[in-house]
């Protein structure tokens, strides 16, 4: 009983950490520009696929991983420059279609370049499972959780203790006021896309040894990251992390105890219920409309 529960919990938290990184990416871009970036999932896919490609090309693992984070970050910046900046202030649905267009381009290019196959990455420190109270934990899960924890701590430090981070935060509260005190908001937008793409890619790399990857994994991962961001209340960083973990855990529990066929539906059922009763997510503030 307990062993089974722990087993589901471990796998839930591991996947949840990836959702959390994706949700943080959604949050960063949303705060900087009010855009929901539907291409976020493709950065997760890019991270995994590029890591596979560079390790197969014979590059040492650290170099391969660094490239697999750096390139998606550049792609994120290109998307921002080419597609988001020219349409500043457009309607929500226009922005949604633009980011979906971008995701199709990225996914299509990878499909042409690396094919439709499924790929894996060797685990970073072996496949010897760790036994805890009858449940097994893969060392790669520890990597996922450890790196996610470090990233979250680093982001917390960045936004609360550095001038650059505070400038980004200020822009998310009030763009005009931020501009008036001399913050370069265009640069904030640029940074947000680079950072969120890098976060997504990092998640994609870490999870690949466990869940495998292919050119089309980004769609579901991205949508679930969006669910996680909304669960936590859009724009709330801590909420995004907790939302990601919650979505991951509930998905694993649901798959284990209820129905594995409906595993992918669980996050969406969850979000409908949350939105029905708490229209701004679990940790979203109350909204007031300015008339």
């Amino acid at each position: 009983m307990l062993a089974q529960f722990l087993q589901f919990l471990f796998s839930g938290v591991t996947v949840g950490a990836t959702y959390a990184l994706a949700a943080l990416g959604f949050t960063l871009i949303y705060n900087a520009s009010n855009v929901i970036n539907f291409a976020q999932g493709e950065f997760i896919m890019l991270g995994g696929m590029l890591a596979v490609y560079f390790t197969m090309a014979g590059l040492p693992l650290p170099v391969a991983l660094a490239l697999a984070i750096l390139i998606p970050a550049v792609v994120g910046v290109v998307v921002e420059k080419l597609a988001i900046e020219p349409v500043k202030g457009a309607e929500t649905v226009t922005l949604i279609i633009i980011t979906i267009g971008a995701s199709l381009v990225i996914r299509g290019l990878i499909q042409v370049w690396l094919g439709k196959g499924t790929f894996s990455l060797p685990a970073f420190s072996g496949d010897e499972p760790i036994h805890i109270l009858g449940a097994t934990l893969m060392p790669q899960s520890l990597w996922v959780l450890g790196v996610t924890a470090v990233v979250v701590a680093a982001l917390w430090y960045f936004f609360n203790r550095t001038l650059t981070g505070k400038a980004m935060l200020a822009t998310s509260y009030n763009r005009l006021a931020a501009e008036l005190v001399g913050i370069n908001t265009g640069w904030v937008l640029f940074m947000s896309f680079a950072m969120s793409a890098a976060l997504g890619a990092l998640g994609g790399i870490l999870i690949t040894p466990i869940t495998l990857t292919s050119y089309d994994v980004g769609i579901m991962l991205g949508l679930k990251g969006f669910v996680a961001a909304v669960v936590g209340g859009l724009g709330n960083g801590l909420g995004a992390v907790l939302g990601g973990l919650l979505v991951g855990i509930l998905e694993a529990m649901g798959a284990g105890y209820i129905s594995s066929a409906y595993k992918d539906a669980i996050p969406f059922v969850l979000i409908l219920f949350i939105l029905f009763f708490m229209p701004r997510g679990l940790f979203g503030g109350k909204s007031t409309d300015r008339v």
Binding site: T92, V93, I98, I100, G108, I219, D264, P279
Partner: protein, 309 residues
């Protein structure tokens, strides 16, 4: 004559001439698909363009209609027309039930909720294989109409063309009715329309249910026309395609809906020649449209030539 009346006559005239100039069966088939999509997009444009509400889950409703027409006659021996009506009724009930809580939401939260609903429907269709045939889909029995079986593309063409003209006419009338004016008012400012006595939630729910039923009915028509259904009818990407047709053609433009549906139904066919690069080119074209024609084709042209729609 009013410009909208001329518009309807032009659409009707084009539809009458088309089957005689279509060079072969392939083009006739393509026009039927375009017309089906145009009707769905008309309904969706009432919701997105006129009422200003986003739905990223409309393919789910289309799926309900399509599968009602496949499952009920096959497993329970229902008459196709009754099955179609049952699908539409089920869609109306589902859309009505979720609409009230959903329309308390705004913007991205609304997008999330409708997207989630569509995905849940799609996953259910994929998983209930004993009824739906699972991911492989299932065949659909032919549609009989008053003892006469609709089977050839040409018969379907006339049915769908007639439905399209009726839908265009109905949409134009609806927009000019008090109901339509209330919708446009709440797009402009919800608070202001509330102040002048528009029951905002009731109108949003009504238009959502109506556009969902449009999608469901056309899902049934598609199922009978193609003779086969698969869960792809209801997938997320199809919802996106429908929304894209609305926006590319022009939000809040009836004739824009037609243009959007025609263009984006033809586009994937035209791109088939790009072997392997279809997705890339399709994505790039979507981005191009949104960047250079964010208001959509018809409103942009209308503004350019100084003529209202």
């Amino acid at each position: 004559m009013k410009s909208t009346t001329i518009g309807i006559l032009v659409v009707a005239a084009i539809l009458v001439v088309l089957p005689f100039v279509a060079p072969n069966a392939y083009y006739l088939d393509l026009t039927v698909r375009m017309a089906i999509n145009a009707i769905i997009v008309l309904g969706l444009n009432l919701l997105i363009g006129f009422a200003g509400q986003i739905s990223l889950g409309h393919a789910g409703f289309l799926g309900i209609g399509a599968y009602a027409s496949a499952v009920l006659p096959t497993h329970f021996g229902w008459h196709p027309l009754v099955a179609m009506g049952a699908g539409a009724a089920a869609t109306a009930v589902l859309a009505g039930l979720v609409a009230r809580p959903i329309f308390k939401l705004k913007g991205h939260y609304l997008a999330m909720a409708t997207l989630g609903l569509g995905i849940i429907i799609n996953i259910a269709l994929r998983n209930e294989a004993q009824w739906t045939g699972g991911p492989d889909g299932m065949p659909v029995p032919a549609m009989g109409l008053f003892g006469f079986e609709l089977s050839t593309d040409r018969q379907w063409y006339w049915v769908v063309a007639a439905l399209l003209v009726i839908s265009v006419w109905a949409s134009l009338n609806l927009i000019d009715s008090p109901f339509g004016r209330a919708l446009r008012a709440l797009h402009g400012s919800e608070v202001a329309s509330q102040v002048v006595g528009v029951d905002v939630v009731r109108y949003k729910v009504a238009i959502f249910v109506m556009s969902a039923v449009f999608a469901s009915l056309m899902g049934s028509v598609t199922a009978h026309y193609i003779g086969f259904v698969s869960p792809n009818f209801a997938d997320f990407f199809h919802s996106i395609e429908l929304v894209t047709m609305v926006v590319v053609g022009g939000m809040a433009s009836v004739f824009g809906s037609l243009v959007g549906a025609v263009l984006l139904t033809a586009l994937p066919q035209a791109l088939a020649t790009f072997e392997g690069w279809e997705t890339v080119v399709f994505g790039a074209i979507l981005m191009g449209f949104m960047i250079f024609l964010p208001k959509g084709i018809v409103p942009t042209l209308a503004a350019k030539f100084g003529k209202g729609d």
